[in-house]
């Protein structure tokens, strides 16, 4: 059985955040903003943290999810409420297809080659969609009008405010459980070996490709679910230049590294720090938040090269509480 104990802290963080969002006026969207960052951190961590591979093109999976939901709501609007589950299914399918394609080509590459090849995948896909005018090309898919006509403005609003947020929260809870499971299962041990020394792991008889693919697939599908809910459902549109914006991957990487790669708590703490810091800085110092944020980030990198959670773990190694931190 895997360790449930380590879920206590992240779940507590989620619940506290949600409680703050619900009870404090004006903090619900900021909380969702932070939750989005936590979400992409947790999702990417399931691959990057566990395998040590950096995927710069990760945002493409969010994009696939966004398009899955966008296609369902935009082209199958007549299904009514059933278009939403269809959207999640399509998001999964699109992500899985991309996963197979990328996994087949790029996962054979190592280190920085892999990282950058995935940029090629992301950009190539974006320009394919724009250039070949797939799914509306650069004009994207715009849904609010359709949703309002089909479901009425009340329910359409409910969809993009309540349902989208709830879906994101559920996805994050599930993603965290998956992370714990992955870390403490055979997959996790195998991936630890891969991370330490891939060649040695191969020699030891570990089916390296299989475990990498498992992590890749898991991470990709979680990403797609986030894209489907936090982007398409919530924003009610999909534009290729938005959903393939590589900056989101960089942010996700920053979050994972900030918190501590390969740990359960890492991306949660990373997302919390990153999201909260950026939000409050934009409120306090509008226009200058990045000027303050960047040096702060550098200080953190230099002080905690293994991430905040990695650092705390090291400090608490001997204490009992360590059981609760993974």
């Amino acid at each position: 059985m895997f360790k449930f104990k380590s879920l206590i802290i992240p779940f507590a963080i989620y619940i506290i955040l949600i409680a703050i969002g619900l009870s404090q006026p004006g903090l619900w969207q900021p909380i969702m903003y932070i939750m989005f960052y936590i979400g992409i951190g947790v999702a990417l961590n399931n691959f990057m943290g566990l395998t040590g591979y950096v995927d710069f093109g990760y945002v493409a999976f969010l994009a696939m999810g966004a398009y899955g939901m966008g296609v369902a709501l935009g082209y199958f609007t007549y299904l009514g409420i059933w278009a939403i589950p269809l959207g999640f299914v399509l998001a999964l399918i699109f992500a899985a297809l991309l996963c197979t394609a990328v996994g087949g080509v790029a996962l054979r590459l190592r280190g920085a080659y892999f990282a950058i090849a995935t940029i090629g995948v992301n950009e190539g896909l974006r320009y394919l969609i724009e250039g070949a005018k797939i799914w509306g090309g650069s004009e994207g898919i715009i849904l609010s009008g359709k949703l309002r006509k089909t479901f009425g403005p009340e329910f359409a609003n409910y969809l993009s405010t309540f349902v989208a947020d709830a879906a994101l929260i559920i996805i994050i809870f599930i993603a965290s459980v998956i992370t714990v499971y992955m870390i403490n299962s055979r997959v996790g041990y195998a991936l630890l070996a891969v991370r330490e020394d891939e060649d040695a792991a191969k020699v030891m008889g570990i089916n390296v490709t299989k475990y990498k693919l498992i992590a890749f697939f898991t991470s990709a599908t979680i990403g797609a679910m986030i894209g489907a809910s936090a982007w398409t459902l919530k924003l009610t549109y999909v534009f290729p230049e938005d959903v393939f914006f590589i900056h989101y991957t960089v942010e996700a990487i920053v979050i994972v590294m900030l918190g501590g790669a390969g740990t359960l708590l890492g991306p949660v703490v990373g997302g919390l720090i990153y999201g909260a810091l950026k939000y409050y800085l934009s409120v306090i110092l509008p226009g200058f938040q990045l000027l303050v944020f960047a040096p702060l980030l550098l200080v953190i990198v230099v002080a905690f090269p293994e991430g905040v959670v990695g650092f705390v773990k090291k400090k608490l190694q001997e204490r009992g509480i360590i059981e609760y931190i993974t």
């Binding site: 950096v54 710069f56 080509v105 790029a106 054979r108 590459l109 190592r110 920085a112 080659y113 990282a115 950058i116 090849a117 940029i119 090629g120 995948v121 950009e123 190539g124 320009y127 394919l128 724009e130 250039g131 070949a132 005018k133 090309g137 650069s138 590589i246 900056h247 960089v250 990487i253 920053v254 590294m257 900030l258 790669a261 200058f288 990045l290 000027l291 944020f293 960047a294 040096p295 980030l297 550098l298 990198v301 230099v302 090269p305 293994e306």
Partner: protein
């Protein structure tokens, strides 16, 4: 008709490729020596572009002469960034430098915006050009191309003939081996980082020779992406590979346009990007370490 278009696009593709190549060499050098992926690459290109812009508009210094200024600015920036941040992270987990260079890039961009404002600026250095039967070749673009070849060649000579250049190569080939020869590896790191940044800043000057408009503090993003891809295409860590790959990328980007234009109902210009990025993947499929990549 089509043949003429193709010829024009190939020439432009080559010219563009020269600039892409130089814009990638610095990235590749830094990776090769320090194993640092400089995510903030584009910010340094932007600094170079503004160097050319300010030198031209404030002091009427032609962009070709600004290359000297850019080299100095680049060396200084590279050295400061190395000493304050990168040096501290060399023993840290590999990825933390990714985080650090990201932060450095954002910081440079925001600081530049603070001083230079968010405007899209440009300059006009109109010095004519050559008329070919099928297109016009402005001297500025030819100069950009020529300078990038000259700089790459000088660098090549420096690397293969001088002791210090060879020492850098030695560190790339085997760090421990370099240590037992008495090479100060940290000095080589600092020097390589500074040279890499200087190259990048210089390429920013050439970028403006090629495209003298649209200079903006956030202009670096697109160049970063392309430089990453070109660096991998050429074999990461191999500045010469990067230089060749720049040509290939430029050619694919511009050269494929004419052929894609024959497909009905698509946007051929957008698809050229698809072609160039897909070509990257195909090449990596055949040779997983890029064209000139060793290992």
């Amino acid at each position: 008709m089509i043949a003429e278009q193709l010829a024009a696009n190939i020439i432009y593709g080559l010219l563009l490729g020269g600039v892409y190549g130089l814009a990638t060499m610095g990235l590749s050098l830094i990776f090769g020596v320090l194993r640092v992926v400089n995510v903030g690459h584009g910010a340094f290109i932007m600094v170079g572009a503004f160097t050319a812009f300010w030198m031209f508009t404030l002091y009427s210094i032609p962009p070709l002469a600004s290359i000297v200024v850019a080299v100095i600015v680049g060396l200084a920036m590279g050295f400061v960034v190395f000493m304050t941040i990168i040096r501290r992270l060399l023993d840290a987990p590999e990825l933390s430098t990714l985080l650090a260079t990201f932060g450095i890039g954002v910081f440079i961009e925001e600081l530049s915006k603070f001083f230079w404002g968010p405007d899209y600026v440009g300059y006009s250095w109109d010095i004519g050009g050559i008329s070919l039967p099928f297109t016009e070749l402005p001297f500025t673009k030819l100069y950009a191309f020529g300078s990038s070849i000259v700089i790459a060649a000088l660098l090549y000579v420096w690397f293969s003939r001088t002791k210090l250049g060879k020492a850098i190569r030695a560190v790339v080939e085997d760090k421990e081996g370099a240590m037992v020869c008495g090479i100060n590896v940290n000095m080589v790191y600092a020097l390589s980082f500074a040279i890499g940044i200087a190259l990048t800043v210089t390429s920013g000057v050439l970028v403006t020779l090629f495209t003298p408009v649209g200079i903006n503090v956030y202009m670096g993003g697109d160049y970063t992406l392309k430089a990453f891809v070109i660096a991998v295409l050429g074999g990461l860590g191999s500045p010469w590979g990067a230089f060749y790959a720049g040509f290939i990328f430029g050619l694919l980007e511009n050269g494929s346009y004419t052929l894609l234009g024959l497909i009905p109902g698509v946007e051929p210009f957008g698809l050229t990007r698809f072609v160039s990025f897909t070509a990257l993947l195909l090449i990596l499929l055949l040779k997983p370490t890029g064209l000139l990549g060793g290992e």
